[in-house]
């Protein structure tokens, strides 16, 4: 049950299942949730230590949720300057798929791999509950087997998920189909409760121009297990694993 916080260097190419490298910063706390989700989908997952210069060879880099460096200064700000991030940025720019969830999304924004900023929730309070997401644009392989227009129920758990970008950036994101997930009201849910953090245009997740870097605030990894209250994100992970294996 101890969190596997030490990097594991195993050889890529053993077996054919894809391999995800999950980056662990001091204060990361959803790395096990993420590892479980990938392993349930048939992938291999290893932890990568923030202090290392290189991400182990892998098919997908994942920045998981948590409070890297205690969220001091700004969420993700210090993590973006961890030694390993140089390599993450280089590999992202070279086209390797990168998924950042919650604190990982914040870190991708701070590392300038994604535009905009994540502000304090409009309620000024931390929020943990289920939300509904609509897949606005399928981006392979990172949105997996989810279908465009499909609505899934997944949890959020964050204090700073209020996505903000200037008008020009928003127009580009919209025009280029890079707003991937939006918050929508679930069945019978009042509109006012759909968006948990006040994000601009109900944005929950976006991709970079090349479409290989996806950042999202909600936690699809916590909607994949038989004892979790939603299995709606199973196709997301299954599709990523199929595509990258």
């Amino acid at each position: 049950m101890d969190a596997p916080v030490k990097p594991e260097h195993d050889n890529v190419g053993v077996g054919s299942a894809m391999k995800a490298a999950i980056v662990v910063f001091p204060g990361t706390n959803r790395e096990v949730d993420m590892k479980d989700a990938f392993e349930r989908a048939g992938a291999r997952a290893v932890m990568a230590w923030h202090g290392d210069a290189q991400v182990p060879e892998c098919d997908l880099i994942v920045l998981p949720g948590g409070f890297a460096y205690g969220d001091y200064l700004r969420c993700g700000a210090m993590a973006a300057h961890s030694p390993i991030m140089k390599d993450v940025v280089a590999k992202a720019n070279a086209g390797q798929p990168v998924l950042g969830v919650c604190n990982g999304f914040q870190t991708l924004v701070e590392a300038r791999l994604l535009p905009g900023a994540l502000l304090k929730n409009a309620s000024l309070a931390f929020v943990c509950r289920d939300v509904h997401l609509r897949l606005e644009h399928a981006v392979k392989p990172l949105t997996g087997n989810l279908a465009e227009g499909e609505v899934i129920r997944v949890p959020v758990a964050h204090g700073d998920g209020n996505y903000f970008a200037d008008g020009e950036t928003l127009r580009r994101l919209e025009g280029e189909g890079r707003i991937v997930f939006r918050y929508v009201a679930g069945p019978g849910e009042p509109e006012a409760r759909a968006n948990p953090n006040g994000s601009t245009a109900d944005i929950a997740g976006i991709v970079n121009e090349k479409g290989n870097v996806l950042g999202m605030m909600p936690h699809p990894e916590d909607a994949t297990g038989p004892r979790q209250q939603s299995l709606d994100a199973v196709p997301l992970f299954a599709g990523i694993v199929e595509a990258l294996s």
């Binding site: 949730d33 205690g70 943990c128 916590d222 004892r227």
Partner: protein, 733 residues
């Protein structure tokens, strides 16, 4: 030099205690030595008022791996080579003075108590008791306490899955914040406070020491008065990020067979941890305060010894393991300093600036704290109120809406949505049900159920029955999800024990707890006492809080409170006389706080609980809710709201006034909803000697009671969900 009273007040010691110290030392203590005695002999550390009584509680069980009180937290065997490590602790006084930091550091402290024993925390719970909603300070305290708990637990990545919140004017000057943590450890790798071999290094790890929290233990052992605000500097400041690093570093080191003993620095900081370790090993300790990592310059020996700076641990290492341990803590960017050695002198010798600052025998400090058998008055019995003497409401519907929209019964969503209750991905039942359920890490299908319980207004009315009820309700909440109750922890919050009436409530409650724990086979494996919850002579309601854990062998066989479908038969398990004394109906609808509380028949409690659990384990019940505050109809409304399915219900007999039937708080009862007509369930219950009563059928989108006009689920939901968010947004209570 004669000591003056103000010096003694400063360290919360009495003149007689001072004389006992002089007697044992054979000389007058110096100011530092007096401070050390003051902290260790405080109620908070020494349990001087409560220990004789606590010894009467049942703690023995073959499931227990550590005897109660001997260590930080209780350790219970949960099979498959694992142990559950858990404890509840109060942080009442600091949370009233500085609610955010006070509550946050309460959560941090209880988690350290758990991981210092080698367990990874997997669930947090908390019990919050606030003053009346219309008291000017209450809103501020609720906001600060909730944000403080969230800030700490969320950052640690430990889900906060349950607890209790209530409001009553008796807490106006003293709110209660009791935090509970449950961890899981390998059963054969539990860590303790211990001293080890002579010469072994004493190592300090974690945060640096600052001037915060000095005299916290003494503060928590005295009443509040008008000057309480001035005590703000005695409240510690929490840094959950450092604690997260400390958790990971400690667990990493614990996997390497390097540690002889480990103890977190909680109340009375370095003083308490060093004395406890030396005492456990029948050894002595030399401490060099110059080696202690310090946040500010120029700290005195007194400040260094009594600081309650958070996120610190003291360890005794195997001598050969020092380098390995240092590397791990450096990797996690935490301070690591050898601050002393184990000796065979039996004395604690504290040096600073090359000079001996204190030289005391360990045993009197730790084990010879004075014990007081305080005089106490039996709490007078209140009369039992007959249902017929309690006025009926305008209508049952109105009374239901009043109750579920009241401060104590309305939804706690505003609170639990500020806590990350899903991190770790193993939360099977979220907050809002009976007990929260998590899946045990690395043991798929095995569940741990956790709950906190106490009904202070019952304890006020009758401490003995109230004490029994706290345990019985925990038993019921665990049974209602199909869990086998394993063990309990307690957190006993009372007023000033030097007053005989208050002491009487303490004595009565402990007797009740003990009786119920024996009858329901739920030994108390750890605990905490918080006395002096009193301001200007007004004490809080007696609040002997119970935390309990239970085991679910197969998570496919469990139950939750929402109705499972339409046309299911709603059946009450257990029966009652419509007991309205000390009930929420009496308080919220009739405006009276009086009468004896419902009596608890422990044999019936056990029979009913065992029956319900058996049916759940057999897969025959999947929807179950215990009946508690507000009675039967409140339980049914919660079941309807949890599922979005209504029900049509009727009182099946005319033996009682309708309001007593629907809102009475008789104990030992559950509501279940089953497919079909419920006959098989009733037969099985008959055979087990358990009474049942069919109440109606599920279905529709409204609750219809005794043929009155239906209450739509929309109205119910708005009423239930509305109160707390509106209140916190500033609307008058």
């Amino acid at each position: 030099m004669p000591i003056n009273q103000s010096d003694l007040d400063e360290v919360a010691l009495s003149r007689a205690e001072y004389e006992a110290i002089v007697d044992r030392l054979g000389r007058e203590p110096n100011p530092l030595e007096l401070g050390l005695f003051g902290s260790l002999w405080s109620e908070h550390c020494g349990y001087k008022h409560s220990k004789p009584l606590l010894r009467t509680l049942p703690g023995e069980s073959d499931r227990m791996l550590v005897s109660p009180g001997a260590e930080n937290a209780g350790v219970v065997d949960i099979g498959d080579g694992l142990a559950a490590v858990f404890k509840m602790e109060s942080h009442n006084h600091p949370s009233f003075i500085e609610p955010h930091q006070g509550a946050a550091t309460g959560v941090g402290g209880i988690m350290r108590d758990v991981f210092t024993m080698g367990a990874r925390p997997v669930a947090n719970l908390n019990v919050l008791r606030f003053g009346a909603p219309d008291h000017p300070k209450t809103r501020y305290l609720v906001g600060g306490v909730v944000s403080g708990i969230g800030s700490y637990g969320n950052c640690m990545g430990v889900p906060t899955v349950g607890g209790q919140t209530s409001f009553h004017a008796s807490y106006n000057g003293n709110n209660l914040v009791n935090a509970m943590c449950v961890g899981i450890a390998p059963a054969d790798r539990i860590f303790y406070a211990a001293a080890g071999a002579i010469g072994a290094p004493v190592v300090y790890v974690g945060s640096k020491t600052g001037r915060d929290g000095i005299h916290g233990a003494s503060m928590a052992s005295a009443e509040f008065n008008e000057d309480t605000e001035e005590k703000r500097p005695t409240v510690q400041v929490g840094d959950p990020f450092t604690e997260k690093l400390l958790l990971e570093a400690c667990l990493e080191l614990m996997a390497t067979n390097s540690i002889i003993g480990i103890q977190d620095m909680g109340a009375a900081g370095l003083t308490c941890s060093s004395v406890e370790m030396a005492d456990k090993g029948n050894a002595g300790m030399d401490l060099d305060l110059d080696a202690v990592p310090q946040r500010e310059a120029g700290m005195s020996a007194y400040e260094l010894m009594l600081s309650e700076s958070q996120e610190r641990m003291l360890m005794v290492l195997k001598p050969e393991a020092e380098a390995r341990a240092r590397a791990i803590f450096e990797k996690w960017e935490l301070d690591f300093a050898v601050v002393g050695r184990i000796t065979d002198t039996g004395r604690l010798i504290v040096r600073k600036d090359g000079k001996v600052q204190a030289d005391l025998p360990v045993r009197p400090l730790s084990e010879e704290a004075p014990l007081y058998h305080r005089p106490w008055n039996e709490t007078p019995q209140r009369p039992t109120i007959a249902a017929a003497d309690v006025p009926a409401p305008n209508s049952i519907n109105d009374a239901l809406l009043t109750l579920i929209g009241s401060a104590d019964l309305s939804s706690r969503r505003w609170i639990f949505e500020q806590y990350d209750h899903l991190v770790m991905g193993r939360t099977v039942q979220r907050p809002g049900g009976d007990a929260a359920v998590i899946e045990v890490p690395d043991r798929p299908g095995k569940g741990l159920a956790v709950t906190t319980d106490c009904t202070p207004r019952y304890c006020q009315a009758d401490p003995f029955e109230g004490g029994k009820q706290a345990v019985a309700e925990a038993f019921r909440n665990l049974s209602a999800v199909g869990a086998r109750p394993l063990a309990t922890t307690d957190c006993l919050n009372f007023g000033n024990p030097e007053r005989a009436d208050v002491m009487g409530t303490f004595v009565g409650a402990i007797k009740g707890l003990g009786e119920a724990c024996s009858a329901l086979d739920m030994p108390i494996v750890s605990g905490n006492v918080s006395l002096y919850n009193e301001t200007n002579g007004r004490a809080v309601q007696p609040s002997p809080q119970i935390g309990a854990i239970g085991l679910i062998g197969d998570l496919d066989r469990t139950a939750q409170i929402g109705f499972g479908g339409t046309q299911h038969t709603v059946v009450m398990i257990g029966d009652g006389i419509g007991h309205l004394g000390a009930s929420l109906y009496l308080r919220e609808v009739a405006g009276r706080e009086e009468g004896a509380p419902p009596p608890v028949d422990l044999a019936a409690e056990r029979r009913h609980g065992d029956f319900v659990r058996g049916e759940i384990e057999a897969g025959r019940i999947t929807c179950c809710h215990d009946i508690s505050d507000g009675g039967l109809l409140v339980a049914l409304a919660e079941m309807a709201l949890a599922s979005g399915i209504g029900a049509s219900l009727a009182m099946p007999h005319e033996n009682l006034p309708a309001h007593a039937f629907w809102f009475g708080e008789d104990q030992g009862r559950y509501v279940v909803a089953v497919e079909g007509d419920g006959a098989a369930l009733q037969d099985a219950a008959n055979r087990a000697g358990v009474p049942t009563l069919v109440l109606g059928l599920t279905g529709g989108d409204a609750l219809t009671v005794d043929g009155a006009s239906p209450i739509s689920l929309g109205t119910l939901r708005e009423t239930f969900e509305g109160w707390l968010p509106r209140y916190m947004a500033g609307e008058p209570a």
